[in-house]
Symmetry: C2
Subunit: 422 residues, 2 copies
């Protein structure tokens, strides 16, 4: 009666999914809308930086050759012939013993080859004219930021697939990218199954619970950089459910269902996979939570059948859907960042299967510590609210004592990594 | 001629700003729009979880008293009187030797006080009726998740000021919060100064650079959870600039200007502060970059005068504006998370003043390492793109060798901290 499924390992499951990954399209969007999108092309410097020789200080631009004899006992005098601020173009080319009063960021006038700061000058007026004198020699090139010294035109500054953060945005502005080529956001369809589900605005009924998974997944989709389309809850009837799923699969880039993938008497999804003639990559994984996580393909479209258990649903998304979305958006590091950490408290459970424990991290003296997000029974429901990482305990291991070194997968890192395990 | 300003310490500057902090208002928004907002009230459980006794497995709900004599040699038989899935309400109260076939998550029928899993039962039909038998006794309460055992009604699950992440969203759904009380997003006005500035879509001109700071700050405002309003660039004329700033101050919760705060010949802001009769908290800080960062108040409204230097502007925002915004949005940990890390490479510069170096972090064996985001000259412009933290080197310290322990402020952590230094 009860179907026996053969579990595969987490690593095999991740690999199977990634073997069918696809890259999405590019699109060109206005600069002002590009925050948190991913670059679809490397960011190339369109000009030198600076694009002209400029002054790093407020001071005077002069010819170094005129300062050769300057000393404490032999001040050298310059006539101030021009006064320019940043953005102004100097009009006077300097001749012998002439100086241009110049502000930070302004262009060095022709003839000048160095800048001397105000604090090293004497400034005075005589007969309505401005002069300055110095008591030291200055070498050629001093206090001049040379054209191209910071960045050479054509340099690739940020790689394809990088998230556009405030620093990247500044670079795009600097180089005049008023249109930005980014990866298209994948549209992820979400469908909930389960006749026990009430909507968020419905009063609680006997024997029922509110649908939280669909909205949690919608948030995870957004956090991963995608857009979602919520198709509501599947009716408890296979033909209309089949039709809805078929329609959804045509409208989205990826489809996620929550619940109904187990072998219970009312679990709809196994039969629907058959009706769809979907290519089931796996329907059982040797992991906790989420052993019934199912991934199938209909032509090229992924159908992620996540568990109806909230923690399993959450973990299944981050392990399988998130990397596929990141890859789709050109990320070169689509997997969650993995590192080791010190377990801050005992975790006495045995791990017959690989376990992903919802945790959060802290730092102590530069060391990463990992804490259980839902240690007590009373935290079962709220643990996901405090989760910022998963602790991965390999199958076949025993309980873990506080102080042990464990592996963690970080959910909020701007960095990812190229492989599931590095 | 050149105004001499008296620098204050970074700590004093942070404290002065925080002394004038204000808390924003609450607003009620639809549940579906609440991602990445901050809770303005603690999240309270509106009912027990579970809200009824439920089964954690697929199996049979029975009366433990009927199993007392069951053993390998004495199987006990039960008549299956009902079949319920999750969401269905059992209608039959169990009598002696009766069982209800029950699915995971379904409500326990009256009379039953335990559940036995399928794998521990024999199931069979006789005369068109369903039976099952067991060969072991079961204790009362076994395999039943009791009403309220996970969360008691009235429990505060997530504190006020917490960011609504996917896990918090799941909790809001569970407890039927179809309207969510969140903190209002502050509206941050942005004004750029500098006649050298071109807009992003303008071709490069001699002596000019494109405005990158305003857009970088707009991204930082969004990353910090606020909305921005860009007022464009100030004209190089003090009266119209004064009028625009005065108008902006009336329309926004906080105002940021970039550039023009130094003592250069063309720096407009000092005079405008005077015209506004603004209360200047400070206009010089003993820090690098950003020593000219100015913070003023007009009545209760902050006017942040950030430096025109991109790195100084970026650092100034994160050190002074970000915490004020977080506090406004009810965050109880408004400051950047601080920890120590191991410096991955030499930083030979002396630190006459406290220095905030743009860096990124990596992990190695559970230890946090910090790397310079812009080590080479060629990276000056691009360093902010790769910045995920600041390394803080206290004033009066010498160069740092690779392997030293240094302090870092993390920009991308979901956690903050209650104080600038803890």
């Amino acid at each position: 009666m009860v179907e026996i499924r053969k579990p595969i390992s987490v690593d095999d499951a991740v690999q199977l999914v990634m073997e069918h990954r696809i890259v999405g399209e590019k699109e060109t969007i206005p600069f002002v809308d590009c925050d948190d999108r991913r670059l679809a092309e490397p960011l190339i410097a369109t000009h030198h930086v600076p694009s002209f020789d400029k002054s790093p200080y407020d001071g005077f631009a002069i010819r170094s050759v005129d300062t050769k004899s300057a000393s404490k006992n032999n001040p050298v005098e310059f006539t101030v012939v021009e006064h320019i601020g940043a953005g102004q173009v100097p009009e006077v080319a300097l001749s012998k013993q002439q100086a241009t009063r110049i502000m930070t960021g302004a262009k060095i006038p022709d003839g000048a080859d160095c800048v001397i700061m105000f604090e090293n000058c004497q400034m005075y007026e005589r007969d309505g004219k401005n002069f300055m004198s110095i008591e030291q020699s200055v070498s050629s090139g001093q206090n001049i930021i040379k054209e191209g010294s910071e960045v050479q035109k054509g340099t690739s500054l940020v790689e394809r697939g990088t998230l556009i953060n405030p620093g990247v945005k500044a670079l795009l502005a600097t180089f005049g990218y008023d249109q930005v080529v980014v990866s298209k956001k994948p549209v992820v369809g979400i469908l909930a199954t389960g006749t026990e589900l009430l909507e968020v605005d419905e009063p609680l009924e006997e024997g029922k619970i509110r649908n939280s998974n669909a909205y949690m997944i919608a948030s995870q989709v957004k956090r991963a950089g995608g857009d979602f389309k919520y198709y509501g809850q599947l009716a408890d009837e296979k033909h209309s459910s089949y039709e809805l799923i078929k329609k959804a699969l045509e409208e989205v880039d990826f489809l996620i269902t929550t619940g109904g993938v187990s072998v219970g008497d009312y679990d709809l999804m196994p039969e629907i996979y058959e009706m769809l003639q979907a290519n089931i990559l796996f329907n059982k994984i040797g992991m906790r939570p989420g052993s019934v996580t199912t991934v199938a393909l209909l032509k090229d479209t992924f159908l992620f059948g996540l568990s109806g258990n909230p923690s399993a649903c959450y973990v299944g998304f981050e392990l399988f859907v998130r990397p596929i979305m990141q890859y789709y958006m050109f990320s070169q590091k689509p997997f969650l960042q993995r590192t080791t950490a010190t377990l801050a408290e005992d975790f006495p459970k045995e791990n017959p299967f690989t376990r992903f424990v919802r945790c959060y991290t802290t730092f102590e003296n530069g060391k990463l510590f990992v804490h259980l997000a839902g240690k007590d029974k009373s935290n079962v429901v709220s643990s996901l609210a405090h989760t910022t990482c998963f602790m991965e305990l390999r199958g076949g291991t025993g309980g873990c004592k506080a102080g042990s070194t464990v592996e963690v997968l970080l959910l909020n890192s701007e960095n990812g990594q190229a492989n599931f395990r590095e």
